[in-house]
């Protein structure tokens, strides 16, 4: 009975609406980020997840805010889906004192430890060994939490991947390893860096469950993460999920994208996860337009908040190095 009320067997209607909002918001945040970069309002670089929004929406919604998030450099969507506040996120992006990291971290290091969001990571695979410690801590403290650990296809070829998955598996740690395979690590195509067809097959070398799923399908991601979290909470250890997706934009702000064809990008743009999810949950064009307008307003307000926020004071330059 209960099941029938859930859309696609996974979401209540308002929950589905909210996830759609988050996906539209993530995309708008990143499009706005690009614009601000072009206008010289932000410096450094940024990694956009446009095209990959389904993974964040599907994953965070399968967990509670008592769980932990270990994010990557391409993590704006995960940050928002975990419950990040747009205003303070925007402020961090602009390096302001009111930002989540007081303007010290920027988009690549954005974190909110209070909400168990343990941060984006500028080091590829840098969060994988940390996940072991988080899992271990959960086990020692005997809570039923789970650590959601994100990484890319490229990260799977760092030595840290092996050490982390092996340790997590031998100790049955409650970790969901969620690999966002967007077919490229910077300019390196998947088949140039792997001899295997699917990263998830590596799970077998650690004696754990591995699955490859459609990462542009919110439902598939949600289901896979939900099941992995259930196993983890029962004490059955980690799972390796490989979510297949594609980044529409360049790797970062300095990418000419000579390593792939326009046709390939176009092909994937037709698999846009946002209209796909909207259709599946029965949101029509008018409703979609309303969401877009809402998002536009929210972004505008966040930009205003961030721009009106103070810069960090120079006298505080050494604050935060030590506790």
């Amino acid at each position: 009975m209960e099941k029938e009320k859930l859309i696609g067997g996974e979401f209540k209607p308002d929950e589905a609406q909210h996830l759609l909002y988050l996906m539209v918001l993530t995309r708008a945040f990143e499009e706005n980020a690009e614009e601000m970069y072009a206008l010289g309002k932000v410096h450094g670089t940024m990694h956009l997840s446009i095209g990959q929004e389904a993974i964040a929406a599907g994953a965070s919604s399968a967990l509670t805010r008592n769980d932990y998030l270990l994010n990557t450099h391409r993590g704006h969507g995960h940050f928002l889906a975990w419950g990040g506040d747009l205003n303070h996120m925007m402020a961090e992006f602009l390096g302001k004192e009111t930002g989540y990291c007081r303007g010290r971290g920027g988009s690549m290091h954005i974190a909110d430890v209070e909400s168990n969001n343990l941060g984006a990571n500028g080091v590829v695979a840098g969060n994988l060994p940390i996940a072991v410690g988080v899992g271990l801590s959960i086990k020692i403290r005997k809570t039923d939490q789970v650590a959601l650990t994100l990484f890319g296809d490229g990260a799977s070829n760092e030595g840290a991947f092996h050490e982390s998955l092996n340790m997590a598996s031998i100790w049955d740690l409650p970790i969901v390893y969620l690999c966002e395979n967007n077919l490229y690590a910077m300019s390196t195509p998947f088949d140039q860096a792997f001899k295997i067809e699917e990263i998830s097959t590596r799970a077998s070398s650690y004696g754990i469950k591995g699955v490859t799923i459609d990462g542009n399908d919110v439902f598939a991601v949600h289901k896979a993460v939900r099941e992995a979290a259930q196993r983890a909470r029962k004490g059955d250890g980690p799972t390796l999920i490989e979510a297949m997706t594609y980044r529409w934009r360049g790797h970062s702000k300095s990418d000419r994208q000579a390593y792939r064809t326009r046709e390939e990008v176009k092909e994937w743009m037709e698999k846009d996860p946002i209209p796909r999810f909207a259709a599946k949950i029965g949101v029509n064009d008018t409703e979609m337009e309303e969401i877009r307008q809402q998002v536009k307003q929210d972004i505008q307000k966040a930009v205003e908040f961030a721009e009106n926020s103070p810069e960090p004071d120079l006298s505080t330059i050494l604050e935060g190095v030590y506790a």
């Binding site: 450094g44 670089t45 390096g95 303007g103 290091h109 990260a155 070829n157 910077m186 390196t188 990418d255």
Partner: protein, 328 residues
């Protein structure tokens, strides 16, 4: 002489040496089609193929190890670590293998490899992509550490590093890639262990490395207008370190300021100051030898904080002026 950017000078060095010496190959992340994160390898893969410009998975321990293994078996690898920060993942192969191998094997092996590291802040890349770690390597006997500050030095020092029979850590600075300067067309080497007196002066000696050489020269220009004549020395290689021009200069001016971007505590400046104090220059000093270096903090994201984390031209001017005036 024709001018090249620092980036172009490095490219030309690689191009020329690869044409001449089949033992040389380049290995790193996204150095092929992408041309390297900072464009140094540009189109070299088109010229020399995938077997000599080798794209790797994201595996820094593997890159360093591949260099070590190839070097002890007759090749002359040049590794690229995308950002200097990620060399921490290569440390075992560099510190415990490459650096000690020749010694452990009774002097019977050689490890002629170069590992290129783009260092430094100033690009808004924040704490994990902006570090300057050169002094870590100075502390490891068996490694050489090179820090070019101009396009001319970049080319000559890279060619010398590739020719050298030891593992060389080659520290480039991200802010220097676009700087321009005269570079000879032919191949040439600058010996490792030869300090360069970049500007002569009689009132104070500034010893600076990498991007701080550029800033010190600018500071010297400004100070000249106040009648303070600065001598600027660039050691170019910080191990081996050529002290002679530095002590001579210290004897001449009696005042020394050391400038580098890396964090002050445990930085190369400490070593340099100690060597000056241990030298015959000690008796000639009119003021404490002082250091101007990065603050002891990770590099912040915020633009203004980032700017003030490392020595800028105005800081050098102020510090040098204080030393000359005897107020510090």
């Amino acid at each position: 002489m024709r001018e090249l950017t620092y980036r172009e000078a490095l490219y030309e060095a690689l191009d020329q040496v690869m044409k001449k010496d089949e033992r040389v190959f380049v290995i790193g992340e996204d150095i092929g089609v992408y041309g390297g994160a900072f464009g140094v390898t540009a189109d070299l893969q088109q010229k020399y193929g995938k077997e000599r410009i080798i794209d790797t998975p994201i595996s820094e321990a593997g890159i360093a190890g591949a260099c070590v293994g190839a070097a002890i078996t007759g090749m002359r690898p040049v590794g690229e670590i995308m950002f200097s920060d990620f060399v921490v993942l290569s440390m075992e192969q560099l510190v415990l293998q490459a650096a000690k191998m020749r010694f452990m094997f009774g002097g019977k092996a050689k490890v002629p490899m170069v590992l290129r590291l783009p260092e430094g802040s100033g690009t808004g890349a924040s704490a994990q992509h902006s570090g300057s770690y050169e002094n870590w390597f100075v502390h490891v006997p068996g490694l050489k550490v090179v820090m070019p500050s101009t396009p001319y030095d970049a080319k000559g020092l890279l060619l010398a590093s590739i020719e050298d029979d030891n593992p060389v850590i080659f520290c480039e600075h991200k802010l220097l890639y676009k700087t321009k300067g005269p570079v000879p067309e032919e191949m040439y080497t600058i010996p490792l262990g030869k300090s360069n007196i970049v500007r002569e002066g009689k009132d104070i000696t500034i010893v600076a490395t990498s991007v701080e050489v550029m800033r010190s020269l600018e500071a010297a220009d400004q100070l000249a207008k106040e009648g303070i004549e600065v001598e600027v020395i660039d050691p170019r290689t910080i191990n081996p370190l050529d002290m002679e021009p530095i002590t001579k200069s210290a004897i001449k001016t009696g005042k020394v300021l050391v400038v580098h971007e890396a964090a002050k505590t445990g930085g190369f400046g400490g070593e340099l100051v100690s060597r000056i104090m241990e030298s015959e220059a000690f008796a000639y000093l009119d003021a404490p030898v002082r250091r101007l270096a990065g603050l002891d903090t990770p590099i912040p994201y915020n633009r203004n904080l980032e700017y003030h984390t490392v020595p800028q031209v105005e800081n050098i001017v102020e510090e040098a002026r204080k030393i000359v005036q005897g107020v510090y």
